[in-house]
Amino acid sequence: MMRSSQTFTVFMTKVAIVHVVVLLLLAGAPRFSGAADQPALSAEEAYRLGERMYREGILPSGEPMQAFVNGDVPVSGTSFTCVSCHLRSGLGSIEGQVSAPPTNGRLLYLPREPYIKGYEHVPSFHNYAVYFQPRPAYTDETLAELITSGVDPTGRSVIKVMPIYDLEDRDLEILIAYLKTLSDKTSPGVSESEIKFATVIVEGTDPVAVESMLAPVEFGIARKNSLTNASAANPRVARMGYNMLGPDLLQKKFSLSRWVLKGPSSTWRAQLDAYYQAEPVFALLGGISEGDWEPVHRFCEENRIPNLLPIVDYPVISDNDWYTFYFSRGVRQEGEAAARYLHGMYDLFSGRAIVQVSRDSRKGNALADGFRAIWADTGHPAVIDIFLKEGEQFSQQRLQEIISELKPAALIVWDDAAALEAFTGLPALADRPGLILASGTYVGKALWTIPEPLRELLSFTYPYRLPQDDIRFDTLALKVLPGKKYSDYDQKIIRQSYITNELLGNALMDMRGEYYRDFFFDVIAMMADEYYPLYERVGFGPGQRYASKGCFIVQLGKGENPQLERRSEWVTR
């Protein structure tokens, strides 16, 4: 017999005993009283410990929780725990053909019917509701039994996918108390008739960029509100709206406030706090800054306010932060992609040097930092770094010196269009590096003006779908600008904000009337990868916070009206 099965048998015996003890305890007055030798916990402490079990799989004692999957596989809580399947909001997950039901107290302690009250005739809600088996409301006792032995209140075993947990009474009590706090009271900013949003605008940002960020989101909100108005007046529209949105979302109007941040970024936090105090919003939509974003990021993190897709070049890079969902890792992502691309061809360099020239500017440093971080992971010898100080021109002479002294196999130049000048004499140079790579976004529009003989010598990072392929999205993007001239806007930002509008609409419809901030990001996490405008592919997933992960390496093609040509795939490893 296998070891795990033995453990399982022992465990099941223990479950039976614990179960009897629990029942005995429940028969007496204090429910779920902890063992006598353990001190009482404050509510905050209990919450913290419950959250740690739920999110990290760690017991109050600091040991990992012990789970059994599929009836016989022992698994440590640190491999995965409640949050992996029931997600942060506790409102459950859907993945492929398997889904986990809600595990928040409010819904557990209600009977589950094969319909969602108030949404009986809304097709999507109906289809969701009939997926799960009906059951009576849980009590503390039946919930304890479900978690420790995998039997639900109808007597049905759920151990096929829901693990069972070996928990002491007091730990179980703490966990159940935590489940009762999950998605319990509707998040701020939501009332019966309205959902409030805000967008953060850093003063001094190019007005065309600001308008381009606002237009698609404001369009979506105006559309939604006019549907709400129309359905109040017209029963046919009302019926259609009901079928699509359900009665609740249909009647809620959306509002979008502009929170303009003035002065140095060190003062933004106080401004944000004041805005928020005056008007607690459900979430921040979009937002725009040409420089800093960190104070807004921190504000959202600390107040647990989701910020959906701000338009920024320098997002905060973090593996654990939760509340800001970015388009990408920003400028830095191009540097990272460059490192992966070079890594892929490293064998061709036969140990020769790699030189990275970077301007000592925010952009130059972000690119070079991104490159170095990924490069360090590959374990190759460090690159030779050369920094261009402010005002220092990258000249032909400098280029020649680098080539003749260092004979690099590859040269990376993180600078703006002015640096292109240095390459004028390149075709005539001996010992040219096999690869010269620059940033397509840093060089900007000049990318399209590179003279013919240089085109096959210079490569660029380009973090978007190639323009000739993205044209097919023009009509879509135009739909959010009815009666307006596309050329009045920044086409890149219109496309980004188009995505924000799409995600907002889709997320709210997936939320089944459960307006919890954590659920807002949970439903986005469950969305399929998408082919939206601008980015070749965007993807989601619990904890994924940078939607577009790719970048092409391109060269400018031949001819009068040259196109960019790919020299790499969207993602290189």
Partner: protein
């Protein structure tokens, strides 16, 4: 896109998804088993250490091979599949390194070597269990070769394969199987 159009399309997709869900639950009670011939594509993938791996050499070997399709931020399916792999390694003890466990990511955009290593660490993976990523194109080729193509993570299904040491054919296992069933299947195909 007009909200109406968005809404209609959206609801249509929800309907499809839910429809699939209901269909699957009934079948989920017992896993399905079939025997397949798989032509391993000649691709070079990247493992959790960032090393390049030629797939043919990894899979076409005398050692027993098990394969599954997962990704690092997956919800319900991957915990179950990976717990199965981890348990198999535990059961095999010192023999674990002689059995090749190969998890392919179906989310190559997100799953970098660092993220994959972290994932394996969480499951206390022992040597012998590799997590592979690569270009979207190469990953697609692998999925198609195993007749396990997921257009997107949201189409993810619980699928594992065991390579028969006798004839190189693959036993395809569909469903969230218990660890003892996985062990049984593994032993039947010549694993010890």
């Amino acid at each position: 896109m007009g909200l109406r159009i968005i809404l209609t399309i959206r609801i249509f997709t929800i309907l499809l998804v839910i429809f699939c869900l209901t269909g699957a639950e009934a079948g989920a009670v017992k896993y399905e088993r079939s025997v397949e011939s798989v032509t391993i594509p000649d691709v070079v993938l990247v493992n959790q250490q960032g090393d390049k791996v030629r797939l043919k050499s990894l899979l076409e070997t005398d050692q027993p091979v098990l394969v599954d399709f997962i990704y690092a931020t997956c919800t319900t399916i991957c915990p179950i599949l990976s717990a199965g792999f981890a348990n198999l390694q535990r059961e095999l003890g010192p023999e674990a390194a002689k059995v090749r466990l190969v998890s392919f990511t179906i989310d190559p955009e997100n799953d970098t070597p660092g993220i994959m290593q972290e994932y394996l660490d969480r499951y206390q993976a022992q040597p012998g269990w590799d997590f592979l990523t690569g270009s979207r194109q190469d990953i697609d080729r692998v999925m198609k070769a195993f007749n396990a193509y997921f257009r997107s993570k949201m189409d993810h299904q619980p699928l594992s394969f065991i390579r028969s040491q006798e004839d190189g054919k693959w036993i395809r296992l569909y469903g969230l199987m218990s660890s003892s069933d996985l062990m049984k299947e593994f032993q039947q195909t010549g694993g010890k």
